[in-house]
């Protein structure tokens, strides 16, 4: 017993690697939230009138909304929305130009995070390149490989830039999957969103490289509200990655993002996230509130949207990347690993909404809870009337480490068509003392043993990640779980 406690002790001291702060000259909006702030953000971004109108419409709607009751299995004090700052931008960024214009401190920040803003091969010895859009606090600071992509007609730029350069696309698709009235945090985002990424893959084009957005909260007292919009036209393919980190702070910072994906006929979008926002310290002080709305629509026949997420960070995670399966024969997938340790809380899962005929969806969710954390899977599978021969397979596994954490599964299944085949499997297991001892007896120490066991447990999900991300995710899993032997 004594040894067990020692190991627990030792492991809970796993440090958050990205908790540094950078001294970047930053311009802030005044604290608080009102119409003037919304106008201020819009003005700062030199937005056209239609964009401001959209924001104001959302803001006025938001004023009438009530904060959602705690239907989710998470617990936090009411947020004072007047106590946050809704716009923070590194001063030296004017437009997205050459790297020389970028603040050196900022470049260093991204270097520390292992993100290269220079256009170079990121994987040694491999031809694969990754185009990056880097977003710090409220603005996109640099998008790489734009010219290479443009040759194929691919648009990959910051959301602000897209509003200026491609208004017709933004007007057509923004809010088409997540309407501004969708939910409290999505509405808030629609009013005050600052930046994010926009990506359009034209007809028949297979995007030759992984596209990625890297989000970083740097300033204190700010919220981050970014918006990502991905549109894959007929027969297009794109694999998209999203990463995020934040400095360690005692306060809780709000991150309320929106991601919308549109897949036309025969198109495929693969969206992968490694979410590593600051989770708070061992006593549960600080950390990011990650309240995010992610949704994709398989608009055309034979289209496919696949979400893969590895969630290790944030004090509270509240998100359900979903797919609306509208086109016939369309496919939705959700692969998730959610890890909670110490006092983290996660309520995450997906919604698969079957509307088209012969639509298929797969849900693989792996929850890992350690410390005093609470980890919930919440998922909805809805088969609408007329969605003949729809199929869903769900598998929700929970792994518990220690005896002070909780794992919960809330599956909702609504079937309105008799031809549907829906399968749901769920398991709960404890990381066995026996498994760890078995490894130790073969010469593998506890830390490595946990890494091995957890990565094995998550293998089906990790296999879905692009290679470079998979390596990062594996390491992250081991680090996040340091201290959780039970």
């Amino acid at each position: 017993m004594a040894e067990k406690n020692e190991i627990l002790e030792e492991f809970t001291q796993g440090e958050y690697k990205y908790g540094f702060t950078s001294d970047i000259e930053t311009e802030f909006a005044p604290k608080g939230l009102n119409e003037d702030i919304v106008r201020f953000i819009s003005m700062k971004k030199k937005e056209p009138q239609w964009m401001l109108d959209f924001r104001l419409k959302a803001f006025r709607h938001w004023l009438k909304m009530k904060h959602p009751d705690h239907w989710a299995h998470v617990n936090f004090k009411p947020i004072d929305f007047q106590d946050s700052c809704y716009y923070a931008a590194p001063k030296k960024i004017k437009t997205v130009g050459s790297l020389d214009e970028v603040d050196q401190e900022l470049l260093k920040t991204f270097e520390k995070l292992g993100i290269s803003l220079e256009e170079q091969k990121r994987l040694v010895g491999m031809e694969s390149k990754i185009a990056v859009d880097a977003v710090i606090d409220s603005v996109s600071v640099k998008t790489t490989f734009k010219e290479v992509l443009a040759e194929k007609g691919i648009i990959f730029c910051s959301f602000s830039e897209a509003v200026q350069e491609h208004p017709e696309l933004i007007k057509k698709y923004m809010g088409s999957v997540v309407p501004y009235t969708d939910n409290f945090y999505a509405t808030l985002n629609s009013a005050v969103f600052s930046d994010g990424s926009f990506c359009y893959i034209p007809k028949g084009v297979r995007c030759p490289m992984e596209l990625s957005t890297y989000f970083r909260i740097n300033s204190s007292g700010t919220g981050q509200f970014e918006r990502t919009l991905i549109v894959a036209d007929e027969g297009a393919y794109v694999s998209y990655l999203e990463g995020c980190t934040a400095p360690m702070r005692d306060e809780n910072q709000l991150h309320a993002a929106i991601v919308e994906i549109v897949a036309h006929k025969d198109a495929e979008v693969k969206y992968s996230t490694v979410q590593n926002w600051y989770p708070g310290n061992k006593e549960g002080v600080g950390g990011i509130y990650n309240f995010v709305t992610k949704r994709g629509i398989c608009l055309g026949d034979n289209s496919k949207i696949s979400w893969t997420q590895v969630e290790t960070g944030s004090a509270i995670t509240w998100k359900y990347p979903s797919v609306i399966l509208k086109g016939d024969h369309s496919v939705g997938e959700f692969y998730s690993v959610a890890v909670t340790n110490n006092y983290q809380q996660a309520d995450t899962g997906t919604k698969m909404l079957h509307i088209g005929k012969n639509t298929r969806s797969t849900i693989i969710s792996k929850g890992i809870s350690a410390g005093k954390s609470q980890n919930s899977y919440r998922g909805l599978v809805r088969i609408s009337k007329g969605a003949t021969n729809a199929r869903n397979f769900s598998q929700c596994d929970s792994l518990l480490m220690g005896d002070k954490c909780g794992a919960h599964t809330f599956p909702y299944i609504e079937i309105h068509d008799k031809s549907a085949v829906v399968e749901h499997e769920a398991t709960t297991s404890k990381i066995g003392e026996d498994q760890i001892f078995y490894c130790k007896q073969r010469g593998i120490d506890t830390e490595k043993a946990i890494g091995l066991i957890v990565n094995g447990y998550c293998r089906e999900v990790l296999n879905q990640l692009p290679m470079e991300f998979a390596v990062e995710a594996q390491k992250l899993l081991s680090v996040s779980l340091e201290g959780s032997v039970g």
Binding site: F437, L452, G456
Partner: protein, 251 residues
Amino acid sequence: MINIKNLHASVDGQEILKGLNLDVKDGEVHAIMGPNGSGKSTLASVLAGKSEYEVAEGEVLFNGKNLLEMSAEDRAREGLFLAFQYPVEIPGVSNINFLKTAINEIRAYKGLGPIEPKTFLAMVKEKQSLVELDGKLTGRSVNEGFSGGEKKRNEIFQMAMLEPTLAILDETDSGLDIDALRIVANGVNKLRDQKRSFIIVTHYQRLLDYIIPDFVHVLYNGRIVKTGGKELALELEAKGYDWLKSESVEA
């Protein structure tokens, strides 16, 4: 090889080993027999370093080093191997990956670099034929979906890969049919040499038809009450343990 003196060990406050003495020299094979609850598996677990067991008294020297002060992983790295009675499953972790990790951890402990992939694969090929283990099984997750016999053969395969100096087999014969028993015993016999010792914990004399021990010990009530040659196993098979129980009470 290993020298156990006056070993007292308990689990959940209950004393199981009550002053056990055992001396195993290089290259020797010792069989430990005894009725249920006599402490056979406890002995195996204590030597391997399972944390639930508390050692109150006694000393264990393993190649001259104080075994009881070492962590379980260091005992393994020093060359102690336990073939488990109930090998656990580790879903999603391939046997190959598991073994490679183990070998490299042991090598690192000895100050060696990671094993060459080529050497490793050649070794896997050679050793799996030793226990007639299907190549497909080595690619699968550790023990997942293995039959009882396959699990036991996998233990011997791991033993062959890790090349321990002292191997403890905890009721490896339980649940094996006669063919599997022969395969397991053959594997063990091929691994016998002058530098490697075995402690074979078993209920039945049957296994000892195939693995001929140098010594047979009877463990009863936490102590070794009788020691003899391989013929002692036959005597036990014929007479049972009761005659020893009464003897040990008198003693």
